[in-house]
């Protein structure tokens, strides 16, 4: 992937992430998050992870974001963050915390080098390799995932049910 393309995608990803955090209106934040998920999908493509790029668009940008937009529409957003904020000084602590975390992560990435390892022997494999891995080495976690999704579905039904009384 050329440096220019990566820089453009990275800029879009960071910009949309900032938009999500800074925009007051939750629906604008949701749309920014869609842009962010799309750019991350493009980055997956550049890393030869075609299956994940497709899954990202379908699962995240499709299913999860639709759920979010639904929830935002149902819950009348934008009113909860307009009033004066009694805890503003504490919330501003987020900036030093985030900056400190970023410095720390950057130090870890820098110290791990990354030039020591020879370049990858080839693409990590497409859908076939992942499917083979999921149904051999990761078979138990894979089955547990289905149990987890079932549990989540039942739990949501229970939570969203209107009380009889």
């Amino acid at each position: 992937m050329s440096v220019a393309a990566f820089a453009l995608l990275a800029l879009m990803a960071v910009g949309s992430a900032l938009g999500l955090v800074l925009k007051r209106n939750a629906i604008h934040g949701a749309l920014f998050l869609v842009v962010n998920l799309g750019t991350v999908a493009a980055l997956y493509l550049s890393l030869r992870a075609e299956f994940l790029a497709a899954a990202q668009v379908i699962v995240y940008a499709g299913a999860i974001m639709v759920l979010f937009v639904f929830a935002i529409m149902v819950l009348i957003p934008g009113k909860e963050e307009t009033g004066p904020d009694p805890r503003r000084p504490y919330r501003l602590l987020a900036l030093p915390v985030g900056a400190g975390l970023l410095v720390e992560l950057a130090a870890i990435v820098a110290s791990s080098g990354g030039t020591t390892r020879p370049p990858a022997p080839g693409p990590p494999g497409g859908v076939e390799a992942i499917g083979r891995l999921l149904f051999t080495d990761y078979l138990f976690p894979f089955e547990m995932t289905s149990v987890l999704l079932l549990a989540a579905m039942v739990g949501v039904l229970l939570l969203a049910r209107r009380r009889a009384d």
Partner: protein
């Protein structure tokens, strides 16, 4: 050719922005979306490392993260809707019932 290190740096930036969003915002929905942002940053790290090592394991792990994220969002949004139904307000400052 962009080295994987830059992908790691980018995902570190995205993760930090997500942390700031979780701490600084009052709307639980935005907090949830910031958590999604952090999960995505971690996924990008997995894929970048998988690419560097030339192994599909990283991508398989991302698959699991996506499944868990989907379950988490569904349950989390259901809880938020239930809370809103109970209180007709939506701010994390009000949600102190479990604080001791």
């Amino acid at each position: 050719m962009v080295s994987e290190t830059w992908y790691l740096v980018l995902s570190a930036v995205l993760f930090s922005i997500g942390v700031v969003g979780v701490i600084a915002r009052r709307n639980p929905l935005v907090i949830f979306m910031s958590i999604e942002l952090m999960l995505n940053a971690v996924n990008l790290t997995f894929v970048a490392f998988g690419h560097r090592l030339g192994s599909p394991d990283g991508q398989a792990l991302v698959f699991f993260v996506m499944a868990v994220a989907a379950a988490e969002v569904a349950v989390g949004l259901a809880i938020i809707v239930a809370i809103f139904r109970l209180r007709h307000r939506l701010s994390v400052d009000d949600l102190a019932a479990m604080r001791w």
